[in-house]
Amino acid sequence: MTQNLGKRMWKGRWGYFFILPALIPFLIFTVYPLVHGIWLSFLNAGVNRDRWRFIGLDNYIRLFTKDQAFLIGIKNTFLFVFAVVPTAMIITLFIAVIIYPLSQKTQTFFRVAFYMPVVSSGVILAMVWNVIFSREFGLLNGTLEALGIFNLFNIEKIGWLAQTETALLSLSIVIISWSLGQPLILFLAGLASIPTELYEAARLDGATGWQQFIGITLPLLRPTVLFVLVTLTIAVFQVFVVVLLMTLGGPANATQTIVFRLYESAFRFFKFGYASAMAVVLMIIIGTISAFQFFVLDRDT
């Protein structure tokens, strides 16, 4: 086989030639950093390069035993996922099914309306919602006060982002608003791919709308649902910008997340090795979810 290898490599030399422009940056800026990052997780890498020493699994051990903020971060990240993903999926599925019978133009209105937060992305959303959630001047409190809600329940104005009880919830609302656009488009497209004859046949058989939904729509949307589930989960797992610009992980770690702790450790405390260990943990979690998507979804199609 190997005697042929040289010949085949020569025969396919143009293949290598065309790959080169991508391969070189790939090796330098993707592969090398990846490997280096894993190596760093085993060092006590700080700002001073001369002091870097191999410390084995120390970073990892500290991570899971001594770092309260990190453990809370894991908990909060999962909380975000469980709060945001099912909510966003149910809402978008609901909307998709309701507006599907309407004209394309109307559907596009909805598609665009819900996609606007996606287009704006983290920074813009964070800045606006900061203003909306502001305790003194915010739109939310202003509206609630105007409606007399605070008087009704005899409560003070709420510090949505400043109180530990409401901070996580408030960020979840922001993340949900950002998570509706993509799934809606995908669900609408998925609904369009279901042949109407199926619904006709079911209707002739006397099935109600609800039965049609359970028996036809849901099963046939399964690939789309799974895809949305996985991509949304991965996206929410990596939520960072809103935490950075709205709460900085506070108050009192109420909105601490894995990625934010990583950023903090690396760029505020300059503990590069420690942060790298966190990155490895994150890689493992997300890699597992991604692999799940790859294999489970591939089988469906």
Partner: protein, 292 residues
């Protein structure tokens, strides 16, 4: 879908839902409410940029500014290098788009149409890295940039994107769909490798090249965290990074109006690009996920 097919679909859909229960109308009302709620923050941001400070923090909240002002915008453009930020974003995003297209088309062509040992292994290597979260690269890339002395530079924001696995994936799929006879016919006619690539493959690939360019441009534009980490010089910041510094987290004494103007400024290019490429955008997303 043919036109006749589509017409039939719409007709039968209408028949199915012709008896619309009041419940459905209620649900539709809810959907409309949600859509409006989705748009409220952005509306608030835009009018916020035209409000004076005392109005913005005043009560009750003004849904339509009675005395709109350009003061915030004047502060934004004169007081901060905001136009420079926009310029930087364009430079970075264009650089990323061009670079990613170049490497993706060449590599995608190789993976899609050429045969050589290790081809599939290399392709999978590229693909696997797509599953690695970007944060995993933050620290080692930061250190690499420190060693290269590339802080506060354009290349630091552009070069890491030159290998764009998603683009390579898209192009490879497309190349595989091109008939081999094309290549053979051209070879028979005496074309060499480069002529083949330049004169035949490239022109045929315009649609997918366009898609990769858009995706790469967006990726470069939205690469907030990385740009935040390696740029400290205010004049080298990209638009999202610069704007995010306008309003420190939480709203205390920070200038709300300025922040809203900045956010609106950052929003404008996004909405323009979205409107221009809306159809291609949405099609690209759905095709990619439904494996069409």
């Amino acid at each position: 879908m043919s036109a006749i097919n589509r017409a039939n679909q719409i007709q039968s859909r209408r028949k199915l839902f012709s008896k619309r229960s009041p419940l459905w109308y209620l649900a539709l009302g809810l959907c409309i409410l949600l859509a409006i709620l989705s748009l409220v923050p952005l509306y608030w941001m835009i009018i916020g940029s035209f409000k004076l400070e005392k109005v913005a923090i005043g009560y009750p909240p003004e849904w339509f500014p009675r005395e709109p002002t350009l003061e915030n915008w004047r502060n934004l453009i004169n007081g901060r290098p905001s136009l420079r930020w926009m310029f930087n974003s364009f430079v970075v995003s264009s650089g990323v788009a061009i670079g990613a297209v170049f490497t993706s088309v060449t590599a995608g062509y190789a993976f899609g149409k050429k045969v050589f040992p290790g081809r599939d292994l290399l392709f999978w290597m590229f693909l696997i890295t797509m599953m690695v979260p970007r944060q995993a690269f933050l620290v080692p890339m930061f250190i690499l940039m420190r060693n290269l002395n590339w802080f506060d530079s354009y290349q630091a924001m552009i070069v890491p994107y030159l290998a764009y696995p998603f683009g390579i994936f898209l192009i490879r799929q497309y190349m595989r769909s091109l008939p081999d006879e094309l290549v053979q016919a051209a070879t028979v006619d005496g074309a060499n490798e480069l002529q083949l690539f330049w004169n035949i493959i490239l022109p045929l690939s315009k649609p997918v090249i366009g898609a990769v360019a858009i995706f790469a441009f967006m990726a470069g534009w939205n690469d907030y965290v990385w740009q935040l980490v390696i740029i400290n010089n205010q004049n080298m910041m990209t638009l999202p990074v610069g704007v995010s510094k306008l309003a420190a987290s939480g709203v205390g004494s920070a200038d709300i109006g300025l922040g809203m103007a900045g956010a609106t400024l950052a929003f404008i290019p996004m909405i323009l690009i979205f409107m221009l490429f809306q159809r291609a955008f949405i099609k690209g997303i759905t095709v990619g996920s439904l494996k069409g």
